[in-house]
């Protein structure tokens, strides 16, 4: 009778996750016991939880440890991504404080779901075993399905949630099938062991290929890479604005982390094969994302395509497959989160009650009526295009450098042409804001709550300060890129 061996479990490593989950549950309970009117402070408790978690992850920086018998790893790479996700969640909470009150949606569960999704992301990021990654992915996805359809009375939101659910489930089925095949071929689901067995060479190589391809599909769906991006525009447009902001930053970062970890740890020996796949994926994603965004009339939908395009730029970092490319992805992800959530914050402000003000025409004369919002949006847009002194430029510069270092000249040229195409639709917004003759009816005054202002300030800080003085963040990203 084998003696029961209790595996050594150090709860310290999973401290941040625990904090998040506990806060989420606390929120659920609190919502039941508090009266209707002062629901506001729930958001701030959620924010408190996020800040505590980020404090804990920050102090774990620079400390690497394999935990839960090889299923959960804590290293610089993980803590960097976790901080990025926390940043995304924190800013989303700030944006959705007034949103939830205006829309009259009960905000207890809303923040709980946000925190659950973030904890799911954490598991994905630190998972060094397929099981953990899968579990993290599912926890995140399911809470996002619920969040997407949170404003029940809106048809768009329901439709978005359903589409996201059906296609998400389909994608995770493919992912699972991939994991199963790789498990079958290599005999384990631990990334390190998969990597070893691949290096030593295994019999049925075809199984591995199909498995890896299915992995690419599963993860590709989550980051909306092109053949699997169809859900993104509809879901981004349908879901409530703060949720879209959250969806476009947090989950993407987590999926990239898992993607990187799986492909750089488990399947490095096949790098010679999968860089072509990523090369094609990146080009397709960039080009389709940018071209589709050209003729959009709805700002949220345009931003959906722009986030697809940015996923394309990030995929460029994959093709290199060396630490320089990974650090480029890390830095770009950080900058991207700042920019994207900032833009969605502005969209939320302009959309007002029941989100009907999201077409381009609704932004006419915004630059003059609300100079602060106008300038912020301009800076964020130019950062999305990648014009210097903004952080977007440094991010793109870094990614192009990593690609060019490996000699992918044509990939960079295509990316560069894509960013010129992207100028078209980003500038259309500035044209509407500043250059068209103002319509007679005055734009109603927009409510600027302190939390929204803080979110905007953070995004401006991220877009400009990182653009001017990025060196400390770059060193942090480079330190984090060495997956042990």
């Amino acid at each position: 009778m084998k003696q029961l061996v209790i595996p050594d479990v150090s709860l310290g490593a999973v401290g941040p996750e625990i904090v998040l989950v506990v806060t989420a549950i606390l929120l659920l309970l609190l919502e039941v016991f508090t009266a209707r009117k002062e629901k506001g402070y729930l958001a701030y408790t959620a924010l408190g939880g996020v800040l505590l978690a980020s404090a804990m992850t920050a102090n774990m920086n620079g400390y690497t440890e394999m935990n839960f018998s090889g299923m959960y790893v804590v290293d610089n790479f993980a803590s960097f991504f976790k901080l990025v996700c926390l940043l995304g969640t924190g800013m989303t909470i700030l944006v959705s404080v007034t949103y939830t009150i205006n829309e009259g949606i009960s905000n207890g569960e809303y923040y709980a779901l946000l925190l659950f999704a973030t904890s799911g992301m954490f598991f994905m990021i630190s998972g060094s075993d397929m099981v953990t990654i899968f579990m993290g992915l599912e926890v995140m996805s399911i809470s996002l399905y619920a969040l997407a359809g949170y404003t029940r009375n809106r048809e768009k939101s329901n439709e978005a949630a359903l589409k996201y659910f059906v296609l998400g489930a389909l994608a995770s089925a493919f992912l699972l099938y991939g994991i199963a095949l790789i498990y079958g071929a290599t005999g384990s689901t631990k990334l390190a062991i998969i990597g070893d067995s691949l290096r030593t060479g295994i019999a049925n190589y075809h199984l591995i290929i199909i498995g890896a391809a299915l992995l690419v599909v599963g993860f590709g769906f989550k980051i909306s890479a092109v053949p699997f991006h169809m859900w993104a525009p509809d879901v981004y447009q349908g879901a409530p604005a703060p949720v879209t902001a959250f969806m476009s930053s947090g989950p993407k970062a987590a999926t990239f982390a898992a993607f990187l970890r799986v492909f750089n740890e488990a399947l490095p020996s096949m790098q010679a094969d999968w860089w072509q796949i990523f090369w094609i994926l990146s080009v397709m994603t960039m080009t389709v994302g940018n071209i589709m965004a050209l003729r959009q009339t709805d700002v949220k939908r345009m931003l959906a395509y722009s986030s697809i395009a940015h996923a394309g730029y990030i995929l460029m970092g994959f093709t290199t497959g060396d630490w320089f490319g990974v650090s480029a992805i890390l830095f770009y992800m950080l900058v991207y989160t700042f920019m994207n959530i900032g833009v969605f914050a502005v969209v939320t402000i302009v959309a007002r009650k029941n989100e009907e003000k999201t077409t381009f025409e609704d932004y006419t004369g915004l630059g003059y009526k609300h100079p602060i919002i106008g300038v912020t949006l301009v800076v964020l847009l130019f950062s999305l295009i990648g014009i210097p002194p903004t952080a977007g430029f440094v991010g793109k510069f870094y990614i192009f450098m990593s690609a060019l270092q490996q000699g992918y000249v044509w990939l960079v040229i295509i990316a560069v042409v894509n960013s010129v195409i992207s100028v078209f639709y980003y500038l259309r917004l500035t044209i509407v804001m500043y250059m068209t003759e103002e319509t007679t009816e005055a734009l109603p005054s927009l409510s600027l709550s302190p939390s929204l202002v803080t979110a905007l300030i953070i995004s401006i800080y991220g877009s400009l300060w990182l653009g001017v003085m990025p060196s400390s963040y770059i060193t942090f990203a480079q330190a984090a890129s060495l997956i042990p």
């Binding site: 589409k163 389909l170 994608a171 590709g220 699997f228 169809m230 796949i277 071209i291 965004a293 003729r295």
Partner: protein, 649 residues
């Protein structure tokens, strides 16, 4: 020696006059403006005289003095100083410009008295004096070029003085553009000279010209031809003369000063100055001579049937310039300069005379409206007659001596085909005397034919301020000849004075025919002139109707009459060949089609391509979940198959 060092004052004074009149002219009274203008030109003339006398005091061999003010452009090896050089040639021209210029200034006071842009006129005139002096006194090609374009600018401004008249401004623009075409050749020549000699100063280019450049070589011919293009532009020779007749739109004193005496002779000065280059480029000499001769005759014929008094004089200037270039082409630079001098006197006098006629007839320029002014304007008549005799080449008058020298050098020249030049020149002389006397008889003899009553009873002799210069110029037209009279055993004053400038290596030896052959030639030329006068007298004095009958006759005479009348349709031909096609080509071909359609079309096309592409791809986003799922599954299949293909190679 100090006089020569201060030579700078001669050009600077008119410049100061121009600046004062230009900037504050409006505020000053008319008297003050006159004082400034005349003062500056007067003193400049005075200083020019002192300098010239001081130059004479030097012994002939070292009659040259340079004074450099500052370095204008210095870039690595290329150095262009702002320097003035006075030597016999520039001395002579300086005197003409300042002398005749001063007289014309005095005349203009009377002529332009009642104009409102009075200060503007004198500002431009002084500026012209400055540029012309700079041109003549410059010590390197670039300074000459500044003067060159400066005079072009002033002629543009002065021709277009009556800027509310569109025809005047058009004429000004035409003059500037045609000059610019000439300058295009000149500037290329300067560059070529710099890169062959390493410098553009006269003193370092001319002495070594014959060593550096092989005689008749490609470079020297190229340089000289380009220089000559510049000269034709400025001195209105065959290809680029069309601007001079139109330049008559400007006020008459302007025509007198610029388009008779000084500016147009700039080309002759340039060719004379570069004689060292021209002498070693025989082909260019032939080109210069032949263009000179052809222009002489061609322009003379065009002068035949003009009815505007100033146009006749304009064509006669073009033809006289032809003579000067013919002389240069034959190597007789002295004869050319001599003719420049005499021409300056009598042509200025003719123009001012016609000016006083026009002034008298309050603006009437058409000869058919004139006549019988002999009695009404005696002084103008006398001076006009003297100058007409001078230009016709009647002995005693200056014209005869200078023109005769040119004919002489043509007759005895060594360049082959020189006899043809002589024949052309002589016939041109005949035609010249004919149209000059036609002009004389139509304006002064007979009875006043003017139909306008106002003109008829306002005919008056011009005030002394206008007739005094006329008298002086008429006097010079007579005495001018002395310069060339071979009194002391063929020691032709001017020749000996200018000898050092023109005695460069390769200069064509001037013929010294025996006395009697010289007299024979003189007789021929005088005879030809007299014939011209007689014919003119017959048609326009004895029986005026015959001229009209002749004009009516059908047949080939009509055709000839018509073509000459319309100046051989040269203007229309130029328009058709150059102006219209370039304008239309650039408007429709270059701008509308190429710029708009091709380049912009391409740019907008690419933008539309992306727009259409995005339109088509957007259709795939149908909104149906099942389509999305289908594309996803296809994506999966694609990824797997790509992976296998990749693995395959």
């Amino acid at each position: 020696m100090t006089g020569l060092k201060l030579i700078w004052i001669v050009p600077i004074l008119p410049l100061l006059g121009a600046i004062t009149n230009g900037l504050i002219g409006k505020l000053l009274s008319k008297r003050a403006v006159t004082f400034v203008a005349l003062g500056s030109t007067g003193f400049s003339a005075l200083f020019a005289l002192f300098a010239f006398i001081e130059l004479l005091s030097l012994d002939p061999s070292s009659r040259i003095s340079e004074s450099i003010l500052f370095t204008w452009i210095e870039s690595d090896k290329f150095i262009a100083e702002a320097g003035i050089q006075i030597d016999p040639l520039s001395g002579v021209f300086m005197l003409i410009v300042t002398g005749v210029g001063f007289l014309i200034h005095i005349y203009s006071v009377g002529y332009m008295g009642h104009e409102d842009g009075y200060s503007r006129y004198f500002a431009y005139l002084n500026l012209f004096m400055f540029s012309m002096l700079l041109l003549v006194l410059g010590n390197n090609f670039l300074i000459m070029f500044i003067g060159w374009e400066g005079v072009g600018l002033c002629s543009y401004l002065l021709i277009g003085y009556y800027y509310d008249k569109n025809s005047a401004v058009d004429a000004g623009k035409k003059a500037f553009v045609v000059n610019r075409i000439g300058d295009f050749g000149f500037i290329l020549a300067i560059m070529w000279i710099f890169w062959t000699f390493g410098s553009i100063d006269y003193t370092s280019v001319f002495p070594v010209a014959h060593e550096v450049l092989p005689i008749g070589g490609f470079t020297v011919t190229g340089i000289t031809l380009l220089l000559f293009i510049g000269a034709t532009g400025k001195s209105a020779q065959i290809p680029l003369y069309t601007w001079l007749p139109d330049a008559m739109e400007g006020p008459t004193p302007v025509s007198a000063l610029i388009h008779a005496a000084t500016m147009v002779t700039a080309g002759v000065y340039m060719v004379a100055r570069c004689n060292a280059l021209f002498n070693i480029a025989p082909t260019s000499m032939i080109v210069v001579a032949s263009i000179g001769a052809i222009t002489a005759l061609f322009a003379a014929t065009m002068g035949l049937y003009q009815y505007d008094i100033k146009r006749v004089l304009a064509y006669s200037t073009v033809s006289q310039l032809g003579y000067m270039f013919l002389a240069c082409g034959l190597g007789a630079y002295v004869a050319a300069v001599f003719h420049v001098i005499t021409h300056a006197f009598f042509k200025a006098c003719l123009f001012l005379g016609s000016g006083s006629v026009i002034h008298g007839l309050s603006g009437e320029q058409d000869m058919r409206q004139m006549g019988g002014l002999k009695k009404l304007m005696p002084l103008t008549h006398i001076t006009f007659l003297i100058s007409t005799l001078a230009i016709a080449g009647i002995p005693v008058f200056a014209g005869f001596f200078s023109k005769d020298e040119i004919l002489l050098s043509a007759f005895f020249g060594e360049t082959q085909g020189h006899l043809i030049y002589w024949a052309l020149a002589t016939t041109a002389a005949a035609v010249t005397s004919f149209y000059m006397f036609r002009l004389y008889y139509l304006t002064f003899s007979g009875v006043l034919r003017s139909t306008d009553q106002h003109v008829r009873d306002h005919v008056h002799e011009s005030p002394p301020v206008m007739t005094a210069p006329l008298a002086i110029l008429a006097g010079l037209a007579i005495l001018g000849g002395l310069l060339g009279l071979p009194i002391i055993k063929d020691a032709h004053i001017l020749k000996s004075f200018l000898a050092p400038v023109f005695s460069t290596r390769g200069a064509i030896e001037q013929p010294h025919p025996p006395m009697q052959i010289e007299f024979l030639l003189m007789a021929v030329s005088v005879g030809v002139a007299v014939i011209g006068i007689m014919v003119a007298r017959y048609f326009y004095y004895t029986n005026p109707e015959s001229a009209k009958k002749l004009a009516k006759k059908e047949g080939w005479i009509k055709i000839v009459y018509r073509t000459i009348q319309n100046k051989y349709y040269v203007d229309e031909i130029y328009d058709a060949i150059f102006v219209k096609p370039i304008f239309l080509a650039s408007r429709d071909l270059l701008w509308r089609i190429f710029d708009m359609k091709v380049i912009d079309g391409l740019v907008n096309g690419i933008a539309n391509f992306f727009y259409k592409l995005s339109q088509t791809i957007r259709k795939t986003q149908t909104g149906f979940v099942r389509n999305y799922a289908m594309i996803m599954v296809l994506g999966v299949v694609a990824v797997i198959s790509v992976w296998f293909i990749v693995l395959g190679d």
